[in-house]
Amino acid sequence: MNYIDSNLKVVGTRPLRPDGVDKVTGRAMYSADTRAAGMLWGKILRSPHAHARIVKIDTSKAAALPGVKAIVTGADFPDIPNEEAFVGEGPMNFRDLARNVIARDKVLYEGHAVAAVAATSSAIAEEAAALIDVTYDILPHVIDVEAAMADNAPILHEDMFTVGVDPKPTKPSNIAKVIRFKKGDIDAGFAAADVVFEGRYTTQPVHQAYIEPHACLATANADGQVTIFASSQGHFMIRAYVAKLLAMDMSNIRVNPAEIGGGFGGKTLIYIEPVAVRLSQKSGKPVKIQMTREEVFRGTGPTSGAVVEVKLGAKKDGTIVAASQVLKFQAGAFQGSPVGPGAMCGFALYDIENIDVLGYDVVSNRPKVAAYRAPGAPITSFGVESALDDLAAKLGMCPLSLRVKNAAKNGTKTHYGPTHANIGFEQVLAVAAKHPHWTSPLKAGHGRGIACGFWFNIGGESTATVHINEDGSVTVATGSPDIGGSRASMGMMVAEVLGIPVDKVRTTIADTASIGFTHLTGGSRVTFATGMAATQAAERVVGELKKRAAMIWEISPDAVEWKDGAAYPAGTNAGQFEPLDLATLALRAARTGGPVNAEVSVNAQGAGAGFGAHICDVSVDKETGHVTIERYTAIQDVGKAIHPSYVEGQIQGGATQGIGWALNEEYIYNDKGQLENPGFLDYRCPVASDVPMIEAVLVEVPNPRHPFGVRGVGEVPIVPPMAAIANAIKGATSIRMPDLPMSPPRLRAAIDKAG
């Protein structure tokens, strides 16, 4: 059933979230809060070198320390063959994952896990880890992407030959993969252009910087069964990866989803869980591992830093006739940067006849990248949206008008294949053009920038159950970790279908043994896909309730109508009966066929793509190079906002992460390839005094492929900020800042250079 134009009573309102009180009182259990009787503390020893061969690991001194109960090294784990599988949003090579979890013959970045200890206290575990004696043969290292692509670069993987070039290379390379997307005839396109603009842009790796460090508690029993408490974006993902890396049956692994303290894509991989399981197997005790913040920075994945080259050609009237891009993405120590989506997203916003995008996936001696909110899109769009601004200036056009003129619409064929359908980009731009922020006069000394962003959003596999309790209240369970309020939206959709108040519905997240498979929380898929499963489960329950009413009334189920939480005769022909409400039907369930509930699994298709436009005013302190965000407005097509507050929150949070990416966040390496800023003091995320209120404007263009019109909202908002801010800085200073972050020293240097 489709509810898009129906008279909604719950969806679109702003009830209190069901897990809220737990979270404001400190009762919510994150994985670091879990305890088990007899629990040991695990500690991981990490490489101090960026690139080295492991010659020998001597654990004897550590093993002799009182309180040490188990030690593991790479040799304690199966050697996983080199095979690629498709998981979730992209490919996963399990050999790489295994060797990222714990090194085997080489360490590939400073912070790479080498060994681990379990001991009776965290202090003993830490002391023991320091007693493990590792002999390294230090190798030359390479940090930056273009240096890693050079012919004479130190090679990370002797068996890596660039995929996607013809003929097949004979020499190993740090370039894992070359990808190319073409549409039309790029040379003819540029030949036909009146105006051409070219720019080269660089972005730095940035960490998701979830405030909760990774943590888990694993208990392995003598019969081979394992229980894990972990915070992650997908407990089914943890089960699958641990099973693969430890060669176990999935049925022997039960993963309980602890509350998750932020992920933003960074908790779609595993790091510590297989290590904790092996330590538990060896010691016979539960083992808890929690990372320090420093370990999070040194050992877990940021998103790629990149070089982005953009060339745009346009007619005098602003019609863009040719667009090309070269993208060089750092993958970290193992292949798998988001260069693929990067190559798709930059030009996906525009209807351009001739496109050519070339992308490189490049390894270097940094932590393996992990997904970060719209992986790849912010990087590619920083280049494209900055270049568009300069192209507009060259054409003498308003930058918003240039975007309006070239905006993708329904029916626009993208350069990577699909044709856009049911998108709301034009509506977003129309709202931007009329928004008081855009139309207001600019204050003296301020600059204003605009930039846009796109993300595909995904659907995929989800499971939800709806149980009618004996008193007519309702319990919903899903397999999707609630990372930002999805319990509320699931409950709201179910309440809407059942026609009951939202506080009669409570939502939980079920563990891997208690509900059907559910793919991880990522790709902006939960409200779309898991919401679809929950909606269908509620509909199935309504169907069953109608049957029960029909049985009581002795009429056909077709003659029963469900509205406002009760069964009614569908018309006068159906007979004259008093309505049977949920509580009454629940009470009589035992006598009408047993408990009423439904579990629905879906593989949801048709996730509607999302578009956003951000407007930003800045002022620049020319003495210090410090940028103040004076005003910020983020406009986005959100499909249908189930709980508008949490949709706004996604947009405000994403925009603020983008502000950090634009202005401050970066990895600083010394000449040994060691990270020099692995903490929140020197890796500078935005704090409350760095940002103004972020106005989130929700444009609702419903996605017809979802019962309530939902499209994903969490990822688009991190795409536009970097270019919006760069464009605003250009407005305020006449200086184009092509390199991120646009931090005070860099901007000050650029101001000095400009004279």
Binding site: V21, I211, P213, E259, Q290, R293, G649, G654, G679, F680
Partner: protein, 160 residues
């Protein structure tokens, strides 16, 4: 090393514990006493997720030793609500949807409570600077600031 005996008051209850001299108050709260509301986000005083009040003063418990609790009165997030009545800051965090993952929330609740005890009528800028020691990566701070300003108004008896 011999453990130290410490006598203190936590959330109004007289409390005794034994801790090692190098143990932080955060580790004592979480691992010795079992109050896990204060979170470890950095253990270096940069994120504020472990915020507590010591004799009313806002402190990062990761920067305080457990032995320093001797003779003090400590409030953790678990002691902010009175029975089943939420503190106005907690209530307004819920109403304004000022949390997403909720991991920074305990620290922010304690920090905001401390702000409003010291300054019942903060400007938005004062609230932003006071809370600048509490990192939130989810919300962009917008709804947090609104919640704190709204709670301040309620506590002044002005509000809606």
């Amino acid at each position: 090393m011999a453990k130290q005996y410490v006598s203190t008051t936590i959330n109004g209850e007289p409390t005794e514990f034994l801790c090692e001299t190098q143990q932080t108050m955060l580790d004592v709260l979480r691992d010795v006493i079992g109050l896990t509301g204060a979170k470890e986000g950095c253990a270096s005083g940069d994120c504020g997720a472990c915020s507590i009040q010591v004799d009313g003063r806002l402190v990062c418990s990761c920067l305080m030793l457990g032995v320093e609790a001797e003779g003090t009165s400590i409030t953790t997030v678990e002691g902010v609500a009175q029975g089943d009545k939420l503190h106005p800051v907690q209530q307004k965090f819920l109403e304004h949807a000022a949390l997403q993952c909720g991991f920074c929330t305990p620290g922010l609740i304690v920090a905001a409570k401390a702000l409003l005890e010291e300054n019942p009528n903060p400007t938005e800028t004062e609230a932003r600077y006071w809370l600048a020691g509490n990192l939130c990566r989810c919300t962009g701070y917008d709804k947090i600031i609104r919640a704190v300003m709204d709670a301040a108004a309620v506590m002044r008896g002005e509000a809606a």
